[in-house]
């Protein structure tokens, strides 16, 4: 799978990608003396080319694939176009319309590819070639990335591959990078991605944004996949694994994209608000020595105020549209926690209410668990233990580290130290992040001997 070249700096801001004029500013002028490779000038030019290429990538794949339904062929054609761009642009300067330049090259490659596959040019190909011709002549290439996202998250596509598919087809990440973020082998990830793309082509999944009647359900699958991409990256909170740290940025980029393309969908705004809140607190989640710091003990001055402000504005805007949903509620929880930590004013009652609403939508045992922890802050640990979800009702809880950590914490608070010690044992045994494990071990070691 050829991925687009992408520099591993933070993703380009979306507004820049939507404004064709900005592309011009980035124009690299040809110089009378060509910069040599590895000189700062060459590197800058290369980075600029890579950046423009990256911003155009999803748009071009979506545009090409929407006509052929062949995502893999679109990617192959584009990766050849990008390779050409990266060798041409640094020395000759970026073209005034880089997207049209890339499309022209990619179009030529994809027609070649079709011709190689079949001896005769079918009417379908001629249609495609004509429509691509027309598009290349236009100054603006229609943005079909949203339709592409709906294809990637189509219910006919295996749920677990939707997020990787988006990362590849819309952002151009290669299978190796995705595999490492999703803790699987590149070969296995490639195979699943190929299978998904084959399914899109063979079953003719349509490239379009679903109509009003289907939209709520279909949008959920898109948002869930973006969220899954973020959660995958988030599970390396130490940020020691570059591939996974980058994944949270890529997921935020996708969330920004969906929110920008569907500015009237409150849940799309809610998801972006949620991810921005999480991103804002990332610098405070670890001590200098890499230890895990729980929310209540974080230094709020390390939080990114700008991201928090942006999240709050999004949430406010989403609320004004007036259709509550899971992601808005999750973002509202983040907002409430931030407010409490900054002002010192307890708002646990509000938090319990948000959890109630969230539970009504999701019936998730994890929500019930967090709701119980909020109750602990109002009515004490004994009430919280009584409000905890029943492990027999959902066996998945038995393997859920935070369930055992929460239980241990509450048991310790009522003086049931022996039971608390045991619950900590299970929590530690289930955790894969060494820093969180250390945190739990410290808590466990601090338990007094015997029950009180």
């Amino acid at each position: 799978m050829g991925g687009a070249p992408h520099n591993r700096t933070s993703p380009a801001p979306l507004d820049a990608s939507l404004d064709p004029n900005l592309v011009k500013q980035n124009n690299v002028q040809s110089e009378s003396v060509l910069p040599s490779p590895n000189s700062p000038g060459w590197k800058d030019a290369h980075a600029t080319a890579a950046d423009i290429a990256r911003r155009s990538y999803g748009k071009l794949v979506a545009f090409l694939a929407a006509r052929t339904r062949d995502v893999a062929a679109a990617e192959d054609a584009l990766s050849e176009a990008f390779a050409a761009a990266l060798s041409d642009w640094p020395s000759k300067g970026c073209p005034a319309n880089p997207e049209a330049w890339l499309l022209t090259v990619a179009r030529r490659r994809s027609i070649d590819l079709y011709r190689r596959q079949r001896n005769e040019v079918s009417t379908e190909e001629l249609d495609m070639s004509e429509s691509l011709e027309a598009a290349a002549a236009a100054t603006e290439i229609p943005d079909q990335r949203l339709a592409m996202l709906f294809v990637c998250a189509h219910p006919a596509i295996e749920a677990g591959i939707r997020a990787p598919l988006m990362l590849q087809a819309v952002l151009g990440l290669d299978a190796r990078a995705i595999a490492s973020a999703f803790l699987t082998s590149p070969a296995a990830m490639s195979k699943r991605l190929v299978r998904a793309k084959d399914k899109i082509r063979q079953t003719a999944i349509p490239f379009r944004v679903p109509g009003r009647d289907e939209l709520p359900v279909r949008l959920d699958t898109v948002l869930d996949a973006v969220y899954a991409a973020y959660a995958e990256g988030w599970s390396d909170p130490a940020g020691t694994d570059v591939a996974r740290r980058d994944l949270t940025e890529e997921a935020v980029y996708l969330a920004r994209l969906v929110a920008a393309l569907m500015p009237d969908e409150p849940e799309a705004l809610g998801l972006l608000a949620l991810l921005l809140h999480a991103e804002a607190r990332r610098p405070a989640r670890r001590s200098a020595s890499g230890d895990f710091i729980p929310l209540a003990e974080q230094n709020s001055r390390l939080w990114n105020s700008q991201l928090i402000l942006e999240a709050e504005a999004l949430l406010h805007h989403a609320g004004a549209i007036g259709a509550i949903g899971r992601y808005q509620l999750e973002a509202a929880l983040q907002s409430a926690h931030v407010h409490r930590c900054r002002t010192g004013v307890a708002n646990w009652q509000d938090i319990v209410q948000i959890y109630d609403a969230l539970y009504a939508i999701t019936a998730s045992p994890v929500v019930a668990l967090n709701r119980a922890l909020a109750i602990a802050e109002i009515s004490g640990a004994a009430a919280a233990l009584a409000a905890m979800p029943d492990i027999s009702a959902d066996p998945r809880l038995a393997e859920y580290q935070p369930y055992w950590a929460a239980r241990a914490e509450l048991l310790a608070r009522i003086g049931a130290n022996r039971d608390a010690h045991h619950a900590y044992d299970i929590a530690i045994g289930l955790e894969r992040d060494p820093a969180v494990r250390r945190f739990l071990q410290t808590r466990q070691a601090a338990l007094p001997q015997g029950d009180s």
């Binding site: 189509h154 063979q202 079953t203 003719a204 999944i205 349509p206 679903p210």
Partner: protein
Amino acid sequence: MQYLLTLYSDEAGWAKMSPAEQQQGVAAYTAYGEALAKAGALVGSNRLQPSATATTVRNVDGKSQVLDGPFADSKEQLGGYYLIEAPDLDSALSWASRCPGASHGVIEVRPIWKM
């Protein structure tokens, strides 16, 4: 594009239905077939005799091995099919969800391999 909609359901259900219910069931399938035909989507369809009538054939070492019974012995059995014409998967899935079989069984939707 053509898609084959194969209908799987628990055959025992049919025998348990009263004659009135059976009649109603047949009427629902007739109506569905008419709707498909009216929309120009129907290519062909058939209901199959129960899986007890099935015989499987396989050639092993040049000899035909004939066995009584269906290929897969599961609770839900292939009971019929619709071959339809649809512009894309969403349209085919939408036809599948309207089929009465989707309410008392499951429908598999697969594109036809174009030669």
